[in-house]
Amino acid sequence: MSLVGYAAALAVGFALAATAAGAAWADMPSDVRIDIRSDVVRRIRVHEESLKETGNRSSPAIPGLQADEVLANDLDASAVFTVSRGWTGVPPIDVQAVIGGEWNVSGGQIKLTGQIWDFPARHPILSREYRGPASDWRALVHRFADDVVLQFTGEPGVAGTRIAFVARQGTTKELYVMDADGARLEALTSDHSIALSPSWAPDGSLLLFTSYRSGHGPRIFVTPATHGPVYLVSGRPGNNTSASYSPDGREIACTLSQDGNSEIYVADARGSSLRRLTNNPGIDTSPVWSPTGREIAFTSDRSGSPQVYVMDRDGGNVRRLSYEVSYTDSPAWSPKGDQLAFVARTSDGFEIDVCKADGSQLRRVVSGGSNENPHWSPDGRHLIFASNRDGVFGVYVTDLDDRPPRRIPTGDLTASSPAWSPRLHEPRGVGSADRSP
């Protein structure tokens, strides 16, 4: 063999060895990385091949085409990729990678081998096995999709997260949860009362919410995110509303009117040890924590109409977030810490605006119909919100780009007050390991 041939063989050998050792992203071509802190997100074009079924082909446990759909949806929803599915004639010249893999079923357990190759050379970039019970096949696909995002951006995707929301049924409102793509939708409450304002614990295990289930005024409750009893957190006289956990999960910010006027308080995670943060005859409500836990954004009408303010966690240094809009409410602090989203009143209801934490670079990100309750995804790439843009209220996501928001299906439920979970631990029994290709 020639010297060049030896060099080529060595290079391929190194690539294979590095992959087999699990350091799959060490030698990735640099032009497929993107800067996740860039304001302008240009999508990477990838091609998805249908996942092959190996082993017992007649097993009903193989999710087949459904899994291809779930994977394509996860990759597209990440806002990182543009996904093509079938070659028609010559493949697009700017395809950077091919995504594919295999399914294998054995005794109620399912194994997904997820693979990434660069294009057009088809050098393997990633090969990883995901195992779990057959009933959890969706979790395996979501894990793979999130690993594909990790591969190209340095940060995992959010396909494996959950959405909590409120569904109106006649005159009652119940708390629901579903996967980020709308699957596995289930009710968490059946109180035949009014539930509102769900808010996730930082580890994804609990949901705070407001409810009228006690028969008195609104009170704050907490329930496990996967079915369980409902516990009272605050049932003080007057309103108990708008609860949210601090980033370390040790404290809860909330709105109480026990002193005769809606003010912002911080309690411990059980709802005790209150300390009052605001002291103002106006309405102060909707507190949300910065990701550092050092600041709290909130809504106050102390100036005459509702506006978003920011204060330190001890209540000091109160400053109005923006003077450019006349009526703002519902602040949401990006997990990246650098931006806040909020609603601004329009003639149709509300639009959603985003600005930097110092109030600069204000821009409108969602308009049309009425759009309420913005919440950030845990990677700070997306905003989920409720909108009646298509007639009745439903759950929508915007990727903060120039595409129209997309709806997360909720069956025939009228949905509002959505909240995006943090990244969740792997379901029990689901594991992954790199594999030599």
Binding site: L196, G217, S242, I283, T285, S286, D329, N373, S416
Partner: protein, 178 residues
């Protein structure tokens, strides 16, 4: 003749008593029967037993049941919890109704139209109910009877999406609790 009367009179008196006792069965205490020697005058019925045959005197306090529909709601301007003239006049009437009757509990609900956020409206609704409550207390209604519950925009009275619907939903609403 006198002897006849003397025989019949107690029987007549007894019959009169029975007629007055009327449909008041086991629950109502029966008036004391007179001794047979004296034709006792018919005792006035106290406490008033509800009979369908005998008329009872009009009660001065407390017996007429107060219903939710006896109290009129008050309405508010957009984004406001201030009582306007119409609201104050309505509350004057409601205060009188409440002073004239005892009711176990009065619940004042605060409501908003759909145009604010859910959380802000829970606070604004409470403001409206508090405004009505404070006015009623100043007008002599006992504070201890009153509970305030804000429903924000969660329980609209009119589910329409125009000003006529919104105006109906911006209210303090009174219900009689138990």
């Amino acid at each position: 003749m006198n002897r006849l009367l003397r025989t019949i009179a107690p029987i007549l008196a007894l019959l009169g008593l029975i007629a007055l006792a009327g449909c008041a069965h086991k629950a109502a205490p029966a008036p004391q029967p007179p001794t047979s020697s004296n034709p006792t005058p018919v005792p006035t019925p106290t406490p008033p037993t509800t009979t369908t045959t005998a008329p009872a005197p009009t009660p001065s306090t407390e017996t007429a049941t107060l219903h939710t529909e006896d109290l009129q709601p008050v309405f508010f301007d957009f984004d406001s919890a201030t009582l306007n003239d119409q609201a104050r006049s309505t509350l004057d009437q409601d205060a009188k109704t409440l002073r004239d009757h005892s009711a176990p509990k009065l619940v004042i609900e605060g409501h908003c139209d759909e145009r604010g956020t859910a959380e802000y409206n829970q606070a604004l609704g409470e403001r409206r109910a508090q405004a009505a409550r404070d006015y009623l207390i100043a007008a002599g209604v006992a504070a201890g009877r009153i509970e305030v519950i804000s429903y924000g925009k969660e329980r609209p009275f009119d589910s329409g999406h125009d000003e006529s619907a919104w105006a109906k939903n911006r209210r303090a609403h009174f219900t009689i609790g138990s």
